[in-house]
Every structure is written in C-alpha cells, then in structure tokens.
C-alpha cells in the first residue's frame, strides 16, 4: 500500500506494516475476483457430464489421485487465491449437503460471474446485479418446482432408483459396470433406510476396498467386512451360526490405573504371582467359553500365552479391531460391548450367520466377512480394482451414487437431467425477466444466459456441436412445452431425457442454484481487498 502524505509533505503510516500490505479497490477488485473464479470454474468445466474427463492430481507427498468429482478435484488443487477458496467451499458444501452435483455448481457459479462481468463493464452497480440474480434464482427454482415430477418407487420396484444411480455413475470411471454398481448402491441404501421417517444414515454403509481383482468383483455384504484376520493362523477359517463376544479389554492380566508396585522378595511370592497370571488367562478363556461364545472380537491385543490358550480351547478370536468397527459389529449382531470378562453373559453375545476369512490372490491380505447378522442395519460395499487410484475413485463414485439414492428416499421429487432442467429454468427466468422493470431485468437475463452454460458444457464435453444442440433443445422445449428435452450426451438418438431415464433429485438442483447465487452475491459485494503483499 502506498504511503499517504499530508499537505506539509510528511508521510504517515496508519496501518501496521503498511508497506507490506496490498490493496485492491473498486472495479479492479471485482475484475480480479471474477478472473480468479472463472479460472477455477474452467478447470472443472471439462469434467462435467457423462463424457467428462478426469483430472490427475499429485499431492505434495507424491500421492496421485485421478477423479472427476468436482469437490475432490478442488480440494486437492490446494487453491491459494481467496476467491478461489470460496468456490472450493461452495463445492464442498454441495458435497456435504447433497453429495452430488459438485462440478455443476462451480461451473454455474463461474458462468454467473462471467456474465456479471459484462454487466459491470456497462457500469451497472454490482449490487444491482446481485439483487437481480437473487430474483432470477427465485424464478428459476419456481420454474423447477413446476416441472418437477414425483418419482414412485417401492421396495419391490427398484428399477427407477437404479436408473437414477446409473445416471450419476455414468460420468465416472466405473461407468463400465454401472448397472451392477447402481444395484449395489440401491440395495445398500434401502437396507439401512428408514422409509417411515424418510431418513438414511449413511454412516451405516461402509465402503471398503482392496487392490486387485476386477471392478466386476465388487459386492455388497449384508454385514461387515473387517480388515483383520484370526489371531492365530490355525484357527478355523469359516464359522457358522456364530455367537460373538465383543470385549474392550485386552487378553492380559488386568492392570490398575493407579501407579502400583508389587514387592517380590521371596521365591514363593514369585511363584504365586506367576500362578496368578496363568490363572487369569485360564479364567478369561473360561469365562468366554462359559457364556457360550464361539468367537471373541477384542478391541485390544492378546498376549501370546492367551493366543495359545484360545487356540487350545478352540475359541477363535480377532484382535485389534478398531472402535468404529466394534460399534458397527455390535449394532449389526445385536451384541453389547463388554468392558471386562467377568461381565460376560449369554444375553450380551451377538449373533451372526457366518464369519468367513477370505484371502485375496497370492497376497497374504486376509479379511473377515461377517454376514447374516440378525439386525443387519449395517452393510458394506466391498469394491475391487486394478490399482489404488481406480479403487479410490470407485469409492468416491459409489459415495455419490449412495447420496443420490439417499436423497431420493428423503424426497422423491425429481427433475430430468442432461441439461434439460437448466434449459427449462433458463426459459422460466427469461419469462420472469420480462415482467421486471429496472436494471434487474438485465441481471436476470444474464442469469438465464449463465444457466445455458451447463448444457453447453455438457454438449461440448460429449463432442456435440454445443450451440446447435442447445438451441435445438431450447427451441423445442418452448415449442412443444416439453421440459424434458436436453442434450443427448450418450448419443442414444433422442433428446427426451424422460425416455433416456436421466434424472436428478429436485433438491440437488435447487441447492446448486441457491449456493451458486449466494457465492456470486458474496463475491460481487466485495470491493476492497487488503492482504499481505506476498499473497498478491
């Protein structure tokens, strides 16, 4: 920041470290912000839609991520610019709230700002633009409400839900086996869904994976997969009708928490101590046996002595199982978590149909699959993939699909995808704009133009002629009054998205509009930036 001089030519400092700070003001600030936002949006633009491309991102410590999930890309890009960061957060909050549409929301926000720039050039006050956008957003969401349809599904008729998940998965790397994946996701969501309360707790769905095998090997386990093996290699690999004891104390002699010391001055005392210890082990195993447990899951480790005793007593056991898994297991099997052996009772045991240890390929990796739990609220999606990057990307894609299915269970109102909703919203805004007098009208038109950028990007990414495809869909929507016309990304031959069965939940679309408008307003409202010079 430059110095200020008074009439007598004496400079004065007002702000601490003034010469190290940089200030950007007025229109210049707006322009810089819009540039930054556009740059971020442009990165994501090519990832939009079923034919969108992936990005490869290398983290500072060399890990490579390949993804086309908007939120993940932005997260990993480590954006330094403050305005860029706002967009990152925008995408993140879409991810948290809806879980899908993270790319679309950023592309939309970028387009909105780009069109705002044109208006600012004409000398329109940024807040008028922001206000116009808010009006337009209202009109657009009302338009969406009008074209939204209820979407019927029930437990016997899963097809529609599967179709929706397939739409989400089609843009991902797993598009190849989207049918299987979508079915898996829908079944998983319905297994944990509470259809009465219309609520789905996604925490109950665990997505786990192991490198190796093919994508097609992925499967849904109605139970839990533990990345652990039996504590002793000679323990049985498969158990049926398991009664499971879940304990949170180690197979070791108990230790008081208070500092203690045992004085041993005679051989006899030492002998007693040793005998006591052995007794403890025998006791612990006996207590487990007595209550009828056929498997012990332990949060902590075992002594080798205990391990040997367990094997000798034919009591299979698993050690070092993490707290989260313990909890999931307890919920699924109906077990109670027991803090010490003396409290084990038959009622506190959990039940499971089968426990299997499976190994993969030639590696020594083993996993435990626990199935047939009476209270199978918890399920696991177990995916396989050729390498770690594919595996991670598959997990992310499944997460998106799960979120979509969840959203539909929560609220089954939908709009059709493939850009058709955006086109319809754009038409609605345009119509609304004509009724508004004043500068807002201009801003609303800009909003409607910005909405077109989503179908444009879709068409472009699919290798279609963007303008032709957009204008055709738009003209036909207006002429035929059919709001389901969009961009035929997959070259199926029809642009009616209803026939193509491509749709998204209404709440997700509305959320995108709200969030993008909100961020736009925030960015447009800033006219002054004070920052340390090194960031400039």
């Amino acid at each position: 920041m430059s110095l200020v001089f008074d009439e007598y030519g004496r400079p004065f400092i007002i702000i601490k470290e003034q010469d190290k700070k940089q200030r950007l003001k007025g229109l210049e600030a707006h322009k810089a912000h819009i540039q930054a936002a556009k740059a971020v949006a442009r990165v994501l633009q090519s990832s939009l839609g079923p034919k969108g491309m992936d990005k490869m991102l290398q983290s500072p410590d060399g890990d490579v991520t390949i993804t086309n999930d908007g939120a993940t890309i932005l997260e990993q890009m480590d954006v330094e610019n403050q305005i860029g960061k706002l967009l990152v957060e925008l995408s993140r909050s879409q991810d948290h709230e809806i879980g899908d549409g993270t790319t679309g929301v950023v592309v939309l926000a970028g387009a909105l700002l780009e069109h705002a720039e044109g208006l600012l050039d004409r000398g329109i006050h940024p807040l008028w633009v922001a206000e116009g956008y808010e009006l337009a957003c209202k009109a657009a969401t009302e338009g969406l409400d009008k074209i939204a349809t209820k979407f019927e599904f029930n437990l016997d008729e899963l097809e529609p839900l599967i179709q929706t998940c397939m739409t989400t998965l089609s843009s991902k790397i797993v598009g190849r086996c989207k049918r299987d994946m979508a079915e898996m996701c829908v079944k998983a969501v319905l297994a944990v869904a509470d259809l009465e309360r219309k609520d789905v707790n996604l925490d109950l769905i665990k997505v786990d994976g192991k490198v190796g095998g093919r994508l097609e090997d992925a499967r849904l386990v109605k139970g839990i997969v533990l990345d652990k093996d039996m504590s002793h290699p000679q323990m049985p690999k498969e158990l049926k009708d398991v009664r499971m004891a879940i304990v949170t104390c180690p197979f070791e002699p108990p230790k008081p928490k208070t500092k203690h010391k045992v004085d041993i001055d005679t051989v006899e005392k030492f002998e007693t101590l040793r005998k006591n210890e052995q007794q403890y082990f025998a006791e612990m195993v006996k207590q487990c046996k007595d209550c009828g447990a056929t498997l012990v899951i332990c949060q902590w480790g075992f002594d080798d002595e205990a391990n040997h005793l367990l094997l000798a007593n034919e009591l299979p056991a698993v050690r070092w199982v993490g707290g989260v898994e313990i909890e999931l297991l307890a919920m699924a099997t109906g077990a109670r978590i027991v803090p010490r052996f003396s409290e084990l009772t038959p009622e506190k045991l959990g039940k499971a149909g089968s426990v299997k240890e499976i190994s993969f390929g030639t590696t020594k990796d083993r996993m435990l699959v626990i199935e047939g739990c009476p209270n199978s609220k918890a399920v696991t999606l177990f995916v396989r993939g050729g390498n770690k990057m594919i595996l991670e990307e598959t997990k992310r894609s499944l997460h998106d699909a799960l979120c979509v299915a969840r959203n539909l269970v929560r609220d089954n109102t939908i709009v059709y995808g493939g850009g058709s909703a955006e086109i319809a919203a754009s038409l609605a805004v345009e119509a609304a704009a004509e009724k508004v007098a004043g500068i807002e009208q201009y801003a609303m038109r800009a909003f409607s133009d910005a909405l077109d950028s989503v179908p444009l990007a879709l068409a472009e990414n699919s290798g279609l002629a963007p303008i032709e495809s957009l204008t055709e869909a738009k003209a036909r929507q207006l002429k035929e009054g059919n709001p389901h016309l969009g961009i035929d990304c997959n070259d199926v031959g029809t642009i009616d998205m209803k026939e193509q069965n491509v749709f998204e939940s209404l709440s997700s679309k509305k959320q995108q509009l709200f969030l993008a408008t909100q961020v736009c307003k925030m960015i447009l409202k800033i006219d002054d930036v004070i920052q340390p010079a090194e960031y400039a």
Binding site: V4, E7, Y8, R10, P11, F12, I13, I14, I15, K16, A29, K85, L86, E89, L90, S93, H96, E97, H125, P126, D199, N201, T248, P253, P254, P256, K257, T258, K259, H260, K261, V262, K269, T272, N276, Q299, G323, V324, I326, E327, A330, M331, R336, I337, P339, R340, Q511, F514, L515, Q518, V519, K521, M522, K525, I526, D528, V529, I530, Q531, P532
Partner: protein
C-alpha cells in the same frame, strides 16, 4: 569555540515529537484516510471488504469488524477504531456510521484550523452542537412501547430488517428478522442476557435452511464405541448435568500402591472398577435419561449407558452446558453422590438430528426456555461468519429496542433533520461558534450523501431535494430520507426504515467526542521504546542478509520520524 552552547537533550534519542498546527492537520488527514477505507460499506448498497491477515480471511461489511482487522497503528486514527468498537459494544449497530461521522466532523473543521482558529473554540462549539443534536433526536424519537405483543413484535422485526439491509443476508432479511425477534423474545425480559442466544454454524445448505431452536442445540461431541447404540430421541427426558469425569482412571494422580502379596492384586483392580461403577450406578439410579458432562465420558461409561438406554455426551463446552442448565432447569453437579431429583432438568423433546454433514443434539421445548439457539446454514465459511456478525447486529438492535423502545426514521432522514435544525439554531447565535455549528450541521449530511454515493446515485441532486423537503411545511417532512431502491426521496418512517434512537444518540455523542479529542491534541510524543523490539528483531534478521540490514534500520528510523 567558547561560544558553543551545550545542546540540551530533553528526550531520548529517536523520540518523535511533532507539534503545533502541522501535527493537528496531519492527525486529521490520517483519520480521513481511515474513514475512506470504510466509507463504501455504509447502507443497503454498501460493499464488503475482504481482509486477509495472518489469522485468516474475513469478508465483512461490519464497521467494527473491519476497523479491528485493519490493525491501525496511527495514534490519532486509533481513536476512530475505538469509537467504532465501543459503538459495537454499546448498541451493536451503526459502527460504520460513527466512524464516518467523526471523520466528517474533522474534515469540516480542517479549513478552520488551517486558517488559524484555536481548536478549543471549535471544540466548545462542537460539544454544544452535539448536545443540541442529541436533545433533538430525543424529541423526534417515536415511542413504540405500550403496544400489544403482536404489534411490538412486528415493529421490532422492522428495526431488525433495517439493520440487516446493508448485509450480505439482506435477500432473506424478513426471514432472519423474524428469527432474531423470536430469539430475543425468548430471553428473560429483565436482563436480556445475550449469552443465552447461541449461534451455531453449519456449512452447507442455503440461508433459508437456517433455523431457530427453542432451547439448546450443540454439535455431537466426540464419542466412544457404543454411542451409536444409545437411543437418539426422547420425550420428556430427565437431564443430568455433570462436571466430573466418568472414566476408569487413577483416582489420585501421584498415589502409589505397594503390594506385598501378589494375591491382593485383584482387589486393587476391583476397587478401581467399583469406584467407576458406583458413579455410573448413581447416575442411572437418579432416573436421568440424558447425561451430559463437561469432562470426558469414557468408553466404559458410554457402553454402560447404552446398556441402560441412556444418552450421554462428554466434553460438552461450558457455554453449551450453561445454556442447557438455564433452559432445562438442571443444575450442574460436581459429584454424583446424593443426587437430588430437583437438580435434574427436563425438556419436552430431545433428539439427535443431522444438519448438513454434522450431527446436532437438540433440546426442544424447554420449560424455562430463557434461551434460544440459531443454527445458521450457508455456502461457505466466510459467508456464515458474516451472517453471524450481521445477526449479532440485528439482535443487539432488537434488544436495544425492547429495552428502550423509541425509534427514528433511518436512511439519512434523521441526519438531514438534525442538520436543518442546527443550521436554524446557528443563525440565532452571535459569534464564531455560528460558523462551527454550521460546519457540524453540514457534516451530518454526510450520511445521506454517502448512502447515495454507495448506491451510485447523484448525491448532490438527492441532497438538494432532501433539504428542500425538510424545509417545507409538510408535517411529515422530517421523515424524508434517501430511497436507494428508486433513487429518489421518500418518507422513510412510513416505509418502515427505522433505527432505534439510541443508536443515533450514541453515534453522535461518540463521534463528537472523538472529533474533539483529535482536535485537542497538538503534540505527539512518541517514545521509541514501544516500537523497538519489533524493529530490532527485523533489523537483526535483516543484518544476516548483508547490506540490506542497514537499509532496513534506516527505514525503521525514518518510520519513527514519520509519526
């Protein structure tokens, strides 16, 4: 040689002492430079500032927040930051107004100072003008007290929405005004303790997804295995609040047990378990269905409670626990011995609810609901932060208006009216102060002028129309102010653009005081010490890099000289 006079050294070397008129002018200029930075944030078309400091990024429109973050070091300009902060603490809104007013007062008297008027004369006249203005605000204020409940609420909502006009959340101001008024009216009428309104921020969702909990809400605390097995919803539960750890642990930190006989080993272990089980049993025996503790509740406790269908949460922050106590009527216990049923609280409904990516514990329908919690949603962190600041302003305004129920028309109307009144008054005075009171009156016009400037309107034109309107015989003339939406003038009282009179009174008083303070200073003695540690460190660091060290020191010296 013998004639050489010994130099008298009065102050330490490096002390800066500037004095006289130049110093006064320099101070005024510094203040005006500060005012220039926050001018554009005034009013409904005010813009935001993005301030990037070491501590993070803030996007704000709130005068006090900006002044605080600017980190002003100029001694005179600091006064402005101080009055802005005190306005924030006192009335909560009008923090930009007060700074702009003070700056304008100084600007108006600068020519007089340059012409050689003694500052004290100006100060006296300004003080007098300030008092007259405050008295006039009081006579013009319209009381909104004494109306029935519904009407009062409606009026309060209008005040709140005026306060939010200039903020980022203005698009949803009706929604939030309702929320703020509801929240404040939940409070105890007599004390209106602001701490009892909690604000929780959850990223994600739209602004409209924000909601008000008639009771307490807080984020799910860290939990141990077993937590998921606890029930998550109760009707009319008994609530026990604790301030003890429920964990298996050493009872005394530095105690040591010596065992002679290894056989006694088990008894020590059992003793420890018994202690914790006894505590847990007592909690369960009290009949409480919800157990909250400020300290940790370990995995053992969690599982014990899960077994008995009791909900528990450890490490609840003190603030939240306090509000739960206030809402449910429970008393925080420091021991579980002799739990008295009277110390348990209750509420109509407790549930755990998913909000965005977070899970929240909600206590609703509390019998002694002297507390409320606002859960704010928004697209980004900065957005919610700014929303919180804006709501704080609105809450303060509503609270003020409830206590001191009189309002004046906003949008520059009251300022124009005061200006006209002071001009009229000035004509009746003989002597120099006529000029100064006139200057004061002129300075007041800065508020409507800035409102116009920020909205991109022609300030001169609108000000002239306002002056004319205010001079007219119309009985409602004093209510006319700027209408930023259409770019004209209108009756702002009828349009419900209101602010509590206390905001205006405080702003005028504080701005006058600050202006007088700056005017009364004619010498700054700045001890070099206060800056030394910083400067020396920098110099030492720089010295390592060779020649630049000296340059830095030189600059440091000049830096001192500048002030």
């Amino acid at each position: 040689m013998a004639m050489m006079q010994p130099q008298i050294i009065l102050l330490r070397d490096g002390t800066d002492s500037s004095q006289g008129k130049p110093q006064l002018i320099s101070n005024i200029n510094a203040c005006m430079a500060v005012v220039d930075t926050i001018r554009t944030t005034l009013g409904p078309r005010g813009m935001d500032k993005l301030i990037h400091t070491n501590r993070g990024v803030t996007i704000s429109n709130d005068g006090a927040t900006i002044m605080k973050l600017l980190d002003i070091v100029h001694p005179a300009a600091k006064t402005l930051a101080d009055i802005s902060l005190s306005q924030d603490a006192e009335v909560g809104d009008g923090t930009t107004t007060v700074v702009i007013l003070a700056g304008e007062f100084l600007k108006e008297c600068k020519p007089f100072v340059e012409e050689g008027v003694h500052p004290q004369v100006i100060i006296r006249a300004f003080r007098q003008a300030g008092q007259l203005a405050v008295a006039q605000v009081k006579t013009l204020a319209v009381s909104i007290a004494g109306k029935d409940e519904e009407e009062t609420k409606d009026l309060l909502r209008k005040c709140a929405s005026t306060a939010m006009n200039s903020k980022l959340i203005s698009g949803e101001k009706e929604f939030f005004a309702e929320m703020v008024v509801d929240a404040v009216s939940k409070l105890d009428r007599d004390t209106l303790n602001l701490k009892m309104i909690g604000t929780k921020k959850v990223q994600g969702g739209g602004l409209r997804d924000s909601f008000l909990v008639d009771g307490v809400a807080f984020k799910k605390t860290f939990s141990y295995a077993g937590f998921e097995m606890q029930p998550k919803s109760y009707k009319d539960p008994k609530i026990l609040l604790l301030n003890i750890e429920l964990e298996l642990k050493a009872e005394k930190e530095n105690a040591e047990i010596r065992l002679e006989d290894p056989g006694q080993y088990q008894s020590i272990v059992d003793a420890e378990w018994n202690i914790i089980y006894q505590k847990l049993d007592q909690c369960a025996a009290s009949g409480a269905k919800i157990v909250l503790s400020r300290l940790a509740i370990g995995d053992l406790g969690t599982q014990y409670f899960a077994d008995r269908d009791i909900f528990c949460a450890g490490r609840v922050t003190e603030e939240d626990l306090g509000r739960v106590a206030a809402a449910t009527g429970a008393q925080v216990q420091t021991t579980v011995n002799n739990l008295n049923p009277n110390t348990l609280g209750t509420c109509a409904q407790f549930e755990e609810q998913q909000v965005g990516a977070e899970r929240y514990n909600l206590f609703k329908g509390c019998p002694r609901a002297r507390t409320a919690t606002m859960v704010l949603r928004g697209g980004s962190e900065q957005f919610i932060d700014e929303a919180e600041r804006s709501l704080h302003d609105a809450i303060m305004i509503v609270r003020r208006a409830m206590k001191n129920a009189s309002v004046v028309p906003g949008g520059g109307a009251i300022d124009m009216q005061l200006s006209r009144y002071l001009r009229d008054h000035a004509r009746t005075i003989a002597g120099k102060s006529q000029l100064f009171i006139n200057a004061f009156a002129k300075a007041l016009e800065v508020i409507p002028r800035q409102l116009c400037d920020n909205a991109g309107l022609d300030a001169t034109d609108i000000l002239n129309r306002l002056r004319q309107q205010h001079a007219s015989k119309d009985p409602q003339a004093h209510n006319y102010g700027v209408d930023v939406n259409t770019g004209g003038v209108k009756d702002n009282f009828a349009a419900f653009v209101w602010e509590p009179s206390v905001v205006k009174i405080n702003a005028i008083t504080a701005a006058t005081e600050a202006a007088c303070l700056v005017l009364s200073v004619d010498e700054t003695v700045r001890n070099p010490r206060s800056e030394q540690p910083d400067g020396q460190d920098a110099a030492a660091a720089m010295a390592g890099r060779g020649g630049r060290g000296r340059g830095m020191r030189g600059r440091g010296m000049r830096g001192r000289g500048r002030r």
